[in-house]
């Protein structure tokens, strides 16, 4: 039985169709990348999966599924009086579980644990860097051991180095903990490197399958228009 089953999912804003007749299944332990141009409905798909927007069709999760959600960005006011640790404690979990999650995302290494605790955990949430907030959000999502992680790629505010590590982190969580991950990205290299499957989206489903099979010149043209060149890294 799939972990997630989506059948004929359609979302429209007023009369404007945003997602049309989308159907796919996600198996437990999959790492699926969702790719598509701007305005393809990637974030809207996540919002529908989370029940945040009204939709037609079916989104079937197992009963009591725990979904960890990492939003694209969290507009936190710089001067909001809320420390990183206080933010993590909003999850209503024990400090032990919080530290476990922090360790999983590499924010708490034993050798420098104290250093990190003081500087990051007691900083204001609105004042840490884009890369740090991304890790904190992943840690927040991991706190109660979710069945699936929905990760929406940040489009701005994360430096290249930071981006590289957040994906290797997701890859590690997937490998080591068997965590099911759905991730939105626009970076094809990330897909070739980490994803088992790719769902190409441009309002409707354009392709779905392993990256090597699903991403071909035809599907890429349907996604991004003609004459797109793909430079594929060999790692």
């Amino acid at each position: 039985m799939p972990l997630l089953s989506v059948k004929n999912l359609s979302v429209r804003f007023a009369t404007l169709p945003v997602l049309e007749q989308l159907s796919f299944d996600i198996a437990k332990g999959d790492m699926v990348a969702i790719v598509g141009p701007n305005g393809a409905g990637k974030t809207v798909l996540f919002r529908a999966l989370l029940g945040l927007v009204p939709y037609e069709g079916e989104v079937i999760w197992p009963k009591n599924v725990k979904i960890g959600y990492v939003p694209q960005r969290l507009a936190v006011e710089r001067n909001l009086p809320l420390t990183v640790m206080e933010f993590l404690r909003l999850k209503k979990a024990s400090d032990e579980e919080i530290y476990e999650a922090l360790e999983a995302v590499g924010l708490l290494e034993h050798s420098q644990g104290h250093h990190v605790q003081h500087h990051l955990l007691h900083s204001r949430l609105g004042q840490i860097s884009g890369g740090e907030i991304q890790r904190v959000l992943v840690a927040y999502a991991l706190i109660n051991h979710p069945d699936v992680l929905l990760f929406d790629e940040p489009t701005a505010g994360v430096d290249i180095g930071g981006e590289e590590t957040i994906y290797s982190l997701l890859g590690k969580l997937h490998e080591e903990q068997g965590l099911t991950i759905l991730l939105i990205t626009h970076d094809l290299n990330i897909i070739y490197r980490y994803a088992k499957k790719v769902l190409c989206l441009n309002k409707a489903k354009v392709c779905y399958g392993s990256p090597k099979e699903a991403l071909n010149p035809k599907t890429l043209e349907a996604l991004y228009g003609a004459n797109i060149g793909v430079y594929k890294h060999d790692h």
Binding site: G51, L52, Y69, V76, L80, P81
Partner: protein, 257 residues
Amino acid sequence: MIINPELLTSLIVGVLVGGASAYLGSVMVLKRLALVGDALSHVALPGIGIALTIGVNPFLGAFTALAVGILTIWGIERKAPIPTEAVVGLIFTVSLAVGILVTPEPELLEALFGDISKVSPLDAAIAAVLSVVVAVAMRLTQKDLVLGLISPDFAKAQGVKVAWLNLMFLALVAVVVALGVKVVGTLLMGALVVIPAAASKNMTRSFGAYSIFSLILGAVTAVAGIVLAAVFSLPPGPMVVLAGAALFLFSLAFRAK
């Protein structure tokens, strides 16, 4: 200044209402609802006026009017074709206009500016109980409230019933406003929720410190204002607000980075 039973009663009510208002105010300021508290206090006026005219407890009248007010604002918040603040502006000026017309003249000044020195023992008891209820309810829902103010969608994705939480929060605001009207009156109630929280925000980094410090500053402000008013034989409402303003200026010197 002689410590008489009346002054003691008003000090107790002042501490509790001032503390509860400021504690709730700490979240209102972050939710950018600071002026909604102010607007709601004006909504209380026609309720007080009608209650006085038909001879029931003004607190009951204030609370009824506020209940109508918050349901209207909550409804508009959920599906607004116009900005909430514009509707809030409309509601509160209309309420003030109606309130001035229906409130009997001798009581109008008291309703507008409050007079904590005239609190009956029954009102004091009601105020004490409700202040504690507000503070406890706020404490219990604090985590979800903070999650909701960071991002309503993020909170919803975590299973927080944001719309109901907002309604409950507005109900707490209505209770606090109805209580505060007794202390500083409808015109100045906004100060009781905003000033201590703003001062506390200057001086704190964490949410825990911020909300508790708001509560303490709220209580201190109320006591300082009431005592100063008694010493100089001035009306307590404006003195409480000015005491708060002094604390705010003081807080600017102790800014947390």
